[in-house]
Structures are given as C-alpha cells and as structure tokens.
C-alpha cells in the first residue's frame, strides 16, 4: 500500500462509517445541523491523526497485555485537551455538542484504527491512515448533517436558504429530519448507494432459501 492509498482508501472504498459501520453513535447524534457535524468532524480527525501518531511512536514500548489501556489513556488525554480547547474558544459550539466530544474516547473508530493500524505501522503511515479515516468519517457526517439541516429547517450553517411555510414561503420543513431516526435512514441510503456503485462491498446473506431437493417448488 502506498502512502497515498492510506489517505484515499478510507474515503469511499473502505469508509469507516458506510463499510465498517463504526462511529455510528456520534454520526446520529451530532448531525442535526451542518455546523455541529463540521466541528465534530474536525475534532475527530485531529484525534485520529494525533492518536495514530503517538501510539505508532510508542508501539515498541507498549506491553501487549495492557495495550488497550494505554491506547485509551492516550486517546483520552488528546480528547480532554480538545474538549478544553473547545470550551475555552468555542463555548457555544461545545455546549451544542455537549458530551459527544468527550465520547470520542469511546468511539470505536479511534480505538479501531489504533489497534488495527497504528500498533504495527510507522508514524507517517499511521498519521495518514488517521487522516484518511477522519476524512472518510467527516465526508459521511457532512453529507448527513447537510441533508438533515436543509430538509429539517431549510437552512445551511444556520443561514436560511429557502423561506419556510411558517415565514410565509413555500418550503415545508420535514420535522422527522431533526430526529435521530432520520440519520439512520440517510446512512442506510448512503450505504445502499455506495454498494450499488461498488457491488464488491455487498455482504453475503446469512441465510438462504433452500430449494426443495427434488426440484419441486
């Protein structure tokens, strides 16, 4: 795998959300508006890059039996710094994201990349892998966030794009889009679209209907 592939593979082909179905919890919770989705994407991408780099740097000194504890400690330290940074400089946004920045610690995506990649690769590929996965995550989050904010409120980044019925216009916001289930539906449709474009991602069915043995049906 070339360095460039570490960065580009997770964007669509090996996307952490649509293929590996990781990090779903935050993808549902923070995508009601585009601005929260954007902030969360940046925060997670930074955490992924830094944790990948630090863990990769230390990988020869981490005893295998306690590696998960050490990985989590590193990730948690980085997340706390970012959380404090956001509370200091972007207080409103940090209130909107509430607990979800802190919950990056438990995001399967972060620990997954640390365990699967950073533990056995040099620093530069690990950072690039973190960046690639962060961007893949961000791509999905931004699509879901944009769709939910636009269809649910008629604006993007808080800027009204169309006039809603309540303000005398024609646009009827879809209330469902502001509720968590809509993120599931949009994610489902995204996974569907990606798998239509890339049929090799389609999973084999767990159960198959059996034809009767003598050929009668």
């Amino acid at each position: 795998m070339s360095l460039r592939q570490h960065l580009t593979a997770p964007l669509i082909g090996n996307n952490p959300i649509t293929l590996q179905i990781l990090g779903i919890c935050s993808a549902l919770a923070v995508t009601t508006t585009l601005s929260t989705a954007l902030t969360m994407s940046v925060a997670l991408t930074v955490v992924l890059c830094l944790s990948g780099g630090v863990i990769s740097l230390m990988r020869h000194h981490i005893p295998p039996s306690i590696r998960l504890i050490i990985q989590i400690t590193i990730v948690a330290s980085i997340v706390i710094v970012i959380d404090q940074f956001m509370q200091a400089f972007m207080f409103e946004m940090s209130k909107k994201l509430s607990i979800f920045v802190g919950l990056i610690v438990t995001n399967c995506l972060v620990l997954g990349r640390a365990e699967a990649f950073a533990m056995r690769n040099p620093v530069l590929p690990s950072v690039l892998d973190g960046l690639g996965n962060g961007l893949g995550y961000s791509l999905v989050l931004l699509i879901v966030g944009a769709l939910r904010e636009f269809l649910g409120t008629g604006s993007l980044m808080g800027v009204p794009l169309v006039t809603t019925v309540a303000e005398g216009g024609w646009f009827q916001p879809l209330g469902l889009m502001q509720l968590a289930p809509s993120a599931f539906f949009i994610l489902g449709v995204l996974v569907w679209l990606v798998r239509v474009m890339r049929p090799e991602q389609v999973e084999r069915p767990e159960f198959r209907l059996q034809a009767p043995e003598d050929g009668r049906s």
Binding site: Q172, G175, G188, P212, R216
Partner: protein
C-alpha cells in the same frame, strides 16, 4: 410420491395463499372501510386515496422492475390503509411522501411484503405525524368500526390475521378501560381501535409468528396503546395505535426468539 402430503412446499401451495390472493383478500376486506370513509368525507378522501395509490404503486413497480420480480400489487392494500388513516385535509404531496416512505423504508428495502419488520402503512402514518407539525391522523367512527368487522372475519377465516393477537389486545384494553371508568366507555374504545387493530396491529408480517409469541405480542401492543393514548376518557387516538403497532413490531422478533427457546426447552425436557 412418498411424503407428498408432508412436503412443506407442497403444503403451502395446497393452502392456496399466493401473494396475489393475499393481496386480493386484503383488498376485499378493506373495501367496506374505504367505502365508508369515501361516503363520510367525499372528494378530499378520494384524492388522498388516489395520491396514496399512485405513490405506492410507482415504488412497487420500480422495485419489481429493478429486482426482476413479478408484481403482487400488495402496495394497493397498503395505500388503502394509509388513505383511511390520513385526514382528508392533508396536502396531497405530503400523502404521497408518506406513502413513499412507508413503502420504501417499511418493506421494499427489506425485500418486499413479508420480509420487513413493521407494517408499511404504520410507517407511513408515523412519518406523517413526525414530519409535518400539526398533522394528526384521522379518527374512527362507528360506521368505520362496523365496516371493519366483515373484513376482519374474512381475514380471520383465511388465517391472515391471528385471533390470538386480536383477543389479547382487546383483553388488555378491556382491563385498562374497566379500571379507568367501568364498563360505560367500552363500546367507544372498541370503535376507536377496531380498524387499526385489524389492519395495523393484526398485520401478520409485522407481528410475532409463533402462537405463544402472538399472545405476548398482543398484550404488549395493548399495553402500548394504553400508554401512548393521549385522549381523555374511553376514546383512543389513532396515533397511539399506529405507534403501538410500530413499537410492538420491533419487539416481535425478540418475542419469537424467546417463544422458540421456551418451546425447544419444553420439548427437550419432555422427550429427553
């Protein structure tokens, strides 16, 4: 020829239920309720019906074409139920959108009728309530409840609705109603739930599929109706039935899982 009668595939054929005939039976059962609604509400109801039918059929046609399957026309039955649940004043594009949502996310993405988890009509009604502020659902009337009865009898005789589900839901509602205000409100409660009970909660696709599980499913659905009901007195809000149906459907596979485990255990103890 050995085992001819015991071949499950052959048995299913002999029972005579092809997808087309299931659709037909459902349409016949729905004819009277739809007729009553048309008389009660006139042209607005007719246009809602047409919008729901067109949207549902387009999606069924599209998916049948993509997947190379034959049509079962089951979407028409779903559209009729949606048309009865939706108030006639609803803008037609909202009806079409709700019907599309119900058809696509309620059943077609899972592979069509019989493969989904929830009732497509209930999904459509739920979408309508959540999406458009102020959108309620159409209430029931005595005539609608009475018109539901012959259809319910037909579906029960054909085995397309489980009597266990109906009986257990009604039993829970009876007990709850009795505890609240004696026997006086029971006819009203029955009028309010009759249609939704038969066509949403009774939907065999969305319910449990073991006999034991159907009792539990019915009790759960009945309790959920009682919990969700926002109306004072014996009347029941249609939305309560829709959401009870949706939530109970989600539990149906779990209920079945435990029912099967119980039956297996019992047989193991009995037969060693």
């Amino acid at each position: 020829m050995t085992g001819w009668l015991l071949d499950p595939h052959r048995m299913r054929q002999r029972a005579g239920w092809t997808p087309g005939r299931v659709t037909l039976a459902q349409m016949v059962a729905l004819a009277a309720p739809v007729g009553v609604k048309l008389v009660e509400q006139g042209m607005p109801m007719a246009s809602v019906l047409v919008a729901a039918l067109i949207a549902s059929l387009i999606w069924e046609l599209a998916f049948a074409a993509i997947r190379g399957r034959s049509l079962t026309w089951h979407s028409a039955g779903t559209a009729l139920i949606i048309a009865i649940l939706v108030p006639p004043a609803t803008p037609l594009w909202q009806v079409a959108m709700a019907a599309s949502f119900g058809m696509v996310f309620g059943e077609l993405v899972f592979g069509g009728r019989g493969y989904g988890i929830v009732s497509a009509a209930a999904a459509a009604a739920g979408f309508l309530v959540f999406s458009f502020s102020g959108a309620g659902l159409s209430g029931s009337s005595q005539a609608l409840a009475l018109a539901t009865l012959p259809g319910a009898a037909l579906l029960l005789l054909g085995g397309l609705v489980s009597w266990r589900v109906l009986v257990s839901v009604i039993a829970v509602l009876l007990v709850a109603g009795f505890m609240q205000d004696g026997t006086s409100g029971l006819p009203e409660t029955f009028v309010a739930v009759a249609f939704g009970l038969v066509f949403l909660i009774g939907d065999p696709v969305a319910g449990a599929s073991t006999q034991l599980g159907r009792w539990v499913f019915g009790v759960l659905a009945g309790l959920l109706i009682v919990v969700f009901d926002t109306m004072a007195g014996p009347d029941v809000a249609t939305a309560a039935i829709v959401f009870a149906s949706l939530l109970a459907s989600l539990f149906a596979p779990l209920i079945d899982h435990f029912a099967v485990a119980l039956i297996v255990r019992r047989r193991r103890i009995a037969h060693g």
